[in-house]
C-alpha cells in the first residue's frame, strides 16, 4: 500500500484526476486499510492549492462516512483549519454540513457528548468575527439555527439572532449577507416582521449615517409594504430627502421606491417594478 500510495502521490500533480482517487479507493477497500491512516494522508496533500479540488473533498467525505462517528471531531476540526485558510471555501462548508447531518442521523448521543452543534454556532460566530463579509458563514449559521435539535428551532432563536445580526449590520452596513439573513429570520411570518421594533430601528440607525444605503432603504420598503406605520423617526429621515411630514402615510412606500431608483440606478427597473407592484393600501 505504501509504495503504490507514494507513486500515486506523484501523480497527484494532476490534482483533478478522478481516476487517481478512484484507484486509491479500490486499493483501500481491497486491502481493508485502517482508514484513520487515510486521514493522515490528507495532511500530506492538504496544502492550499488542493482545497478547491472536488475530488479531494469527495474522497475525504467517503473516508469520513466509512469511519462514522470516530471521524466527527477530527472532521469538524479539519474543516475549521481549511476554512481558516480560505473562509469562503465552498467545498469545506458542504462537507461540514453533510457530516453534521450524517452524525445527527447516526448518533445523536455522540453529538451531544462532543458538543458538535453548540460548537458549530460558536464557530460561525468566530468566523464572522474574523471576516464579517463571509456569506458562507452566514449561510451555515442559518443552517445550524434551523436544523440543530438542541437550539429549539428558528422561533426560539429569533430574538438572539436578530440581535446578533443587527449588530453586524451596524458594524458594516454595506455587507449584503446579514441584511438577507435578517429577512430570512422572518420568512413566512410577516406579522412578526412588521411588529419587531428592532427591524425599523436598524434601518433608521443606518440611514441616519448614510441615507443612500440601498440595503436599509430596501428593508424599509419591505416593512412599509407589510403595513409598517411610519414613526416620527422615519418622518425625520424621509424629510432629509425633501419630503415634508404632511405627506400622507400611504405615499411613503412610493417615495422610498423613487429614492431607490435614484441611488441604485443599475437596478432601476427592479425598483420601478417594486413601485408598480405596491399593495394598494400603501400607494
Amino acid at each position: 500500500m505504501g509504495e503504490m500510495a507514494h507513486g500515486r502521490q506523484r501523480d497527484l500533480n494532476f490534482r483533478t484526476s478522478v481516476r487517481v482517487w478512484h484507484f486509491r479507493r479500490l486499493i483501500l477497500e481491497s486491502l481493508q486499510s485502517d482508514l484513520r491512516d487515510e486521514m493522515k494522508f490528507f495532511e500530506l496533500v492538504a496544502n492550499k492549492g488542493n482545497h478547491k479540488n472536488y475530488q479531494i473533498w469527495h474522497h475525504r467525505r467517503w473516508v469520513a462516512e466509512k469511519l462514522g462517528t470516530i471521524a466527527a471531531t477530527s472532521e469538524l476540526q479539519f474543516t475549521q483549519e481549511v476554512l481558516s485558510l480560505d473562509a469562503k471555501n465552498y467545498h469545506a462548508w458542504s462537507h461540514r454540513q453533510e457530516l453534521s447531518s450524517h452524525i445527527i442521523f447516526m448518533a445523536q448521543w455522540a453529538l451531544q457528548a462532543l458538543g458538535g452543534w453548540e460548537n458549530e454556532l460558536e464557530y460561525c460566530r468566530e468566523l464572522l468575527e474574523v471576516d464579517i463579509l463571509n456569506n458562507s458563514a452566514w449561510n451555515q449559521r442559518y443552517f445550524v439555527i434551523t436544523k440543530s435539535p438542541f437550539l429549539g428551532g428558528l422561533p426560539a432563536m429569533r430574538d438572539s439572532e436578530v440581535s446578533f445580526c443587527t449588530n453586524a449590520i451596524i458594524e458594516n452596513p454595506d455587507n449584503e449577507s446579514p441584511w438577507r439573513f435578517l429577512r430570512g429570520l422572518y420568512k413566512g411570518d410577516n406579522e412578526a416582521f412588521v411588529n419587531d421594533p428592532a427591524i425599523s430601528k436598524v434601518c433608521i440607525c443606518v440611514l441616519e449615517k448614510n441615507k443612500n444605503c440601498v440595503f436599509a432603504l430596501s428593508l424599509l420598503l419591505d416593512l412599509l409594504c407589510y403595513g409598517f406605520q411610519p414613526t416620527p423617526d422615519l418622518n425625520r429621515i424621509l424629510s432629509t430627502w425633501g419630503f415634508s411630514g404632511s405627506e400622507s402615510d400611504q405615499k411613503y412606500a412610493n417615495l422610498v421606491c423613487l429614492i431607490l431608483e435614484k441611488v441604485d440606478p443599475m437596478r432601476a427597473r427592479y425598483w420601478i417594478w417594486r413601485r408598480d407592484s405596491l399593495p394598494s393600501h400603501v400607494c
Binding site: V18, A268, R269
Partner: protein, 320 residues
C-alpha cells in the same frame, strides 16, 4: 463603417482561431484538463456555432472521438480511457445534438445509465462513487429530455429533491442547506424549467437575489461579496431569463464588462479583464452576449445551453 468598431467590439474571428488552437495544444494546462475534455469540446463547439463558425470543424472526427468515450454502462467519460460520469454524459449528448448526430447512439442505454444514478430521495449521484449535487440533477434532466426519455426517471422525486435545496434567500445550493450559488441556481432553475416545475421558484425573491449579483464594474458575481467573473454572465443571466426577470439588471453595463474580458490580440475571453483566457470563459462570455442579443450571434436556449435552432430541431423536428 459599423457602429460597433469601437473599443467594445466582439472579435469573432480571433475567438474562432483561439478555439481551434486549443484543440492542438499539448502543454501542461491541457494535460491537467484532459479528464474534462468532453466538456471543453462542448464549450468550444457550441461557441463556434453561436458565432456561425461550426463549419471550421471536422464533424466526423469529433463524433468518432465522442463515441470512443462511451462505456459499456452507457455513460460517457471526459476523455478516452477515463471513467464515466454524468457531467460528461451530458456534454457528450449536447455535442451530438449540436452536430445532429444523436442517431449514432443508443438512447435507451444512456437512459439506463442515468436512471441507475438516481437515489432514493430523488437526488442524483455523479458516478458510482456517489457524490450528490444538484448539478447532477440538472445533468440527468437535461440529458434525458434531449433523448426524449425524461419519463424514465422518477421526475417527481427528482424535482422535490431539487426543491429541498431552496434556501431562505430564494436561491439554491448543491445539497439541502448548501449556500446559494449562481452556478447551482442555474442548475436547479433549468431542471425545473425542463420538467415544467417552475412553480417551485419564488421568481421575485430569486430575481432580486440574482440582480444583486451585478457589481459596480457591470460584471456579475456568483454570491455576495465575491468578485465578478464572466462565467456568471451565463449562470445568472440564463436563470434570470428563465424566470423572466432579465430586465432587472443593467444589460449595457454587463455587455461592456464581457467585451472588456476579451484578449483582442490572441482571442479568447478570461474571467475578468486582463487575466488569462480559457475556453470555459470564452463559452460563457459569448453565451452571455447571446442572451443579451448581441448582434451577429445566434440565440441560445437558457435551460438547455444549446443554440435555439438545435433545441427547435430536437423538439419540433423529426422525433427519434
Amino acid at each position: 463603417m459599423s457602429s460597433y468598431t469601437r473599443m467594445g467590439e466582439l472579435e469573432i474571428e480571433k475567438h474562432t482561431q483561439f478555439i481551434m488552437s486549443v484543440e492542438k495544444k499539448k502543454d501542461f494546462d491541457s494535460m491537467v484538463m484532459e479528464h474534462l475534455r468532453m466538456s471543453g469540446a462542448y464549450w468550444g463547439l457550441t461557441t463556434l456555432d453561436l458565432m456561425g463558425k461550426l463549419d471550421a470543424v471536422n464533424r466526423e472526427e469529433v463524433v468518432s472521438w465522442v463515441l470512443q468515450c462511451q462505456h459499456d454502462c452507457g455513460g460517457f467519460s471526459g476523455n478516452v480511457g477515463h471513467d464515466p460520469h454524468i457531467l460528461y454524459t451530458l456534454s457528450a449528448i449536447q455535442i451530438l445534438a449540436l452536430l445532429d448526430k444523436l442517431d449514432t447512439i443508443d438512447a435507451d442505454k444512456i437512459s439506463a445509465y442515468i436512471v441507475g444514478l438516481q437515489q432514493e430521495d430523488g437526488s442524483f449521484a455523479g458516478d458510482e462513487w456517489g457524490e450528490i449535487d444538484t448539478r447532477f440533477s440538472y445533468c440527468a434532466v437535461c440529458c434525458l429530455s434531449i433523448l426524449h426519455r425524461l419519463d424514465k426517471i422518477d421526475v417527481g422525486k427528482a424535482i422535490s429533491y431539487v426543491a429541498s435545496c431552496k434556501n431562505f434567500d430564494g436561491g439554491f445550493g448543491c445539497t439541502p442547506g448548501g449556500e446559494s450559488h449562481a452556478g447551482q441556481i442555474f442548475c436547479c432553475v433549468s431542471a425545473f424549467a425542463i420538467s415544467g416545475a417552475l412553480t417551485h421558484v419564488d421568481r421575485d425573491l430569486l430575481g432580486w437575489w440574482l440582480c444583486e449579483r451585478q457589481v459596480k464594474s457591470g460584471g456579475l458575481n456568483g454570491r455576495p461579496e465575491k468578485l465578478a467573473d464572466v462565467c456568471y454572465s451565463w449562470w445568472v443571466l440564463s436563470s434570470l431569463t428563465i424566470i423572466e426577470r432579465v430586465h432587472w439588471i443593467d444589460k449595457e453595463k454587463l455587455k461592456t464588462f464581457i467585451l472588456d474580458c476579451q484578449d483582442k490580440e490572441h482571442g479568447g475571453i478570461s474571467d475578468r479583464p486582463d487575466d488569462a483566457v480559457d475556453v470555459f470563459h470564452t463559452f460563457f462570455g459569448i453565451a452571455g452576449l447571446s442572451l443579451l442579443e448581441y448582434p451577429g450571434l445566434k440565440p441560445i436556449d437558457p435551460a438547455y445551453a444549446l443554440p435555439v435552432h438545435v433545441v427547435d430541431r430536437l423538439f419540433f423536428g423529426q422525433p427519434h
